[in-house]
């Protein structure tokens, strides 16, 4: 049995629906919370909302597209590391 055949035999909806439902509501609540607090303009929130539009795609590569949407798309090394941490969204398109 190959992986595709195996996948068709598994009830992924039964396995994962409640978990996905929970996470979706958490995302909605996060957006509500940041909006109420006047923080919806933070670039990370804006990038997250942009990435959410990837969920409307028809092909089964939504996770990849969300990750790409949140990634630095440039190709050259930067001059100096600004620190050690990462924020989870690329600020470049928001910086002047």
């Amino acid at each position: 049995m190959n992986n595709t055949e195996n996948q068709q035999l598994v009830d992924f909806v039964e396995l994962g629906f409640m978990d996905a439902r929970c996470k979706l509501i958490d995302v909605a609540a996060f957006l509500d919370r940041t909006q109420r607090a006047g923080q919806a303009d933070d670039y990370r929130v804006r990038e997250l909302k942009k990435a959410i539009t990837c969920l409307d795609a028809d092909n089964p590569e939504r996770a990849k597209q969300v990750l790409l949407s949140l990634s630095d798309p440039t190709e050259e090394p930067i001059a100096i590391a600004p620190g050690k941490g990462a924020a989870g969204a690329w600020e470049g398109s928001h910086s002047s």
Partner: protein, 266 residues
Amino acid sequence: MRYVEPHAHMVSRTTDDYIKLVQAGCEAVCEPAFWAGFDRSSVKGFFDYFSQLTKYEPARAAKFGLPHFCWICLNPKESEDIKLAEDVLEIMPEFLDSPTCLGVGEIGLNKNSKNELEILERHIEIAAQRDELILVHTPHLEDKLKGTKLIVDAILNQPSIRPERVIIDHVEEHTISIPRDKGFWVGMTLYPVSKCSPQRAADMLEVYGTERIWMNSACDWGISNPLAVPEAAFELRRRGQTREMIDKVIYQNPRTFLSQSPKFTL
């Protein structure tokens, strides 16, 4: 169930975790050199750390019958200081000669800076000269895509390095094909919030297959789970994957890659 934990930072874990690993079926643990959570002030700090990885940690693991192997390098988070990096590169050979050291790692990039790239290239040169295996750390979050491309290019620029002797770790859905399509091994890190969940790792195994791929916990001083690999195996069982498939991914594959070093024996 048997498995190999190919990437765990045991210096930052308690002895209880060694017991949990063994009880879960772990037959060997491998520990790459990494950033300690703070910058070391001189090369002496690295000398002590490399001694810990090559002497003290294997002895701690041996108390529970668990073989412990390591990888030696300067982590990219500390390679912005070129002078310190050069001092560390100088002391590395002594520790690479250790009987439990499998190669150079985890090297790579963090913020994709010029200095990080320069020190990465120096590590690759050392590995090429000594014919060492390489374990690569790819950057976090928004920096991963760009860093993975830069790292793959840097390694391919060194013609004496064969991709089948290099594992590119911490891949996710948007980066897994970049190294795999060039013949490299890839690692999926099961890490809460910032890397891969067991469900997503299982998805990638079902989509991309089980060749040249492993899973690891990368457990360290952060919020992380030393039993993440058995948990992912459980997810695969829930999905009806065979015992043979699971054994290949969590035991045979890491053993195959790591056995390219004659020092790795089970």
